[in-house]
Amino acid sequence: MRTSEITKRPVVTMAGEDVAQVKDIIYAAGGGSVGGFTLAGRGLFAGPLKEGLAWSSVSALGADAVMIRDEFVLQPTKAILEASRASGGSGANVLGSQVLSDAGLDLGVVRDVIVSVDQATGGHCDVVGYEIEASEALGTQGEKVLIPLPDTIAASGEHLMVPASAKEFVGRDLAGFGAAVDAFRAQLGGAS
């Protein structure tokens, strides 16, 4: 799912109380996975909360809500940010970054981040792709397309480096994108 769809989503306990809403995504492992969320209070005038939600405390990330066991799983945002930094997480925002292939082609500009919850790895929330505004190189200039990502990527805050072959796995909608990511990663795995 797109991370832009996760922000503002309510954080709801199993007892049915909406204790917060997602403000922003905290990335971990060099931007390759989601480490947690910063939170804001519910309601029109509620500001940001000092407490955040670590990904390990998320019971489920659904289409309509982020489910947690109870309000006691929230922890200080600072601690989550530090943990994500320790894992090599770039706090830098990738939105607006230019995506370059390792062949030196400008593929486009990041507009959204696509994540997927992988049950196989114990519910790890993986960053699997970006929605980019395509450049000339993709032949669909100006359109928004989905580009799959390898497990690890190089990001500088200015540029994002992806293997040139990512170009071959560009998708147009989220249905079927998961398969494209798998195929792309399988190809990379086979090559190395």
Binding site: V12, T13, M14, A15, G16, E17, D18, A60, V66
Partner: protein, 145 residues
């Protein structure tokens, strides 16, 4: 028996045969997944009746041994009577964070008070034993996997 059918039913004292109130609302305990009590109207004093004080929840009337069973319900019922614990009309979320719709009615067993089915406006029926919580934001039910 549906909440909507049982609403408005007379509560009759078996000692005096007088009508002592009418069923107005159901108070549901999400932990036991059962009706914990009913809120009444048209009573002379107090408006709460504990499920354990009901002699029978019949097809035509609810019977109690005496009017003295109706009171403030004690702490446990008071805690369930707030707006946050009302169930009908509330959104239904699964434990995986997906919304099923709004809860329109509940089917319960008049003998035990146990909830048998939660009826959602989308047409999805959720077995009562999947209820996890009732809060101010939503009624949470276990995902059926």
């Amino acid at each position: 028996m549906l909440f909507s059918d049982a609403k408005g039913r007379q509560v009759v004292s078996s000692s005096t045969a007088a009508t002592v109130g009418k069923v107005s609302r159901f108070l549901v305990d999400p932990r036991s997944r059962a009706v914990a009590g009913v809120e009444l109207k048209k009573t002379s004093n107090g408006d709460m009746l504990r499920w354990s004080d009901i002699t029978a929840f019949g097809a035509d009337a609810v019977t109690v041994t005496g009017e003295d069973k109706i009171g403030d319900g004690g702490e446990s019922l008071k805690a369930l009577s707030g707006k946050a614990h009302r169930v009908l009309g509330k959104r239904v979320l699964t434990s995986t964070g997906d919304e099923l719709g709004k809860l329109v009615d509940i089917d319960f067993d008049p003998a035990s008070g146990a909830l048998t089915t939660l009826l959602v406006d989308s047409g999805t029926d959720v077995p009562g034993d999947r209820l996890l919580g009732i809060g101010s934001y939503a009624v949470v039910v276990r995902d059926d996997g």
